[in-house]
Symmetry: C2
């Protein structure tokens, strides 16, 4: 994730206006968890800017993903996640608490060598693991944390 200032700069460079709403979203993302939903970003922003609409948050997030500053992730958890982490990695969705954990790509090894034989071409590969996160693994008596 780039700093709020860098994102503001990027917006100016691409002829977008840097509004209070946008600054607030940049900052919420910066201090946020890393795989927030639009709803979560909106809640966070609304603490300081109560009038901001959810629609506006959706628009700003979409623009950020168009600029490649974040990645939209559909992990089958109901709502799209907006991922700051621009370095190649994978995800584990905790079956117990719903948390999303980054899995560094170097911990996995994907060999797709045989795939071309099917006549397809692959542009992206997304590995979704399901299981339980370290927190739920240790303190098992289920305590829903962040969805």
């Amino acid at each position: 994730m780039r700093s709020p200032e860098a994102l503001a700069q990027r917006f100016r460079e691409t002829d977008r206006k840097v509004t209070p709403q946008r600054i607030a979203v940049f900052e919420a993302l910066d201090k946020g968890a890393g795989h927030s939903t639009a709803e979560q970003v909106h809640s966070s922003v609304a603490e300081n800017l109560p009038t901001i609409s959810l629609k506006t948050v959706y628009e700003i997030l979409r623009e950020l993903s168009e600029l490649g500053e974040l990645v939209m992730l559909d992990l089958g958890t109901g709502a799209v996640r907006y991922d700051h982490n621009l370095v190649l990695h994978h995800h584990l969705v905790c079956n117990e608490c719903g948390a999303v954990v980054d899995i560094p790509a170097h911990l996995t090894d994907l060999q797709l060598d045989g795939v071309q034989d099917l006549g397809v071409s692959v542009s992206t590969a997304e590995l979704v693991l399901r299981g339980s996160c370290s927190r739920c693994n240790t303190q098992d008596p289920k305590q829903p944390s962040n969805k």
Copy 2:
């Protein structure tokens, strides 16, 4: 995918009734493409059984997935896909026509050796590739086919 007869048998064994609607869904799945949406199954069934409701189709599909006879797949294409193929495999979603292509697992090699160090435990791994299918690869001038 098991035969419609085998599914009927399975339903009887688990104290479920074998209704005309269920038989029709079993048969639609049997002759269908392999990653149908609920909507597609409903359309197919409705050709012979015009009064069946979409809700009923959803219920039958959910029961089949509870029995492990098919797998619900959310590939980020808007609607859940119901997958007949019970053998481990992965999926490629065509960015051009939206088709879903099975990728046999033996064509890929997933090494997850380093993952435990994070304290997580992995129960399932789902690899989603995006790119273009063999059809769109050859006859490029885009022709939307089956979504």
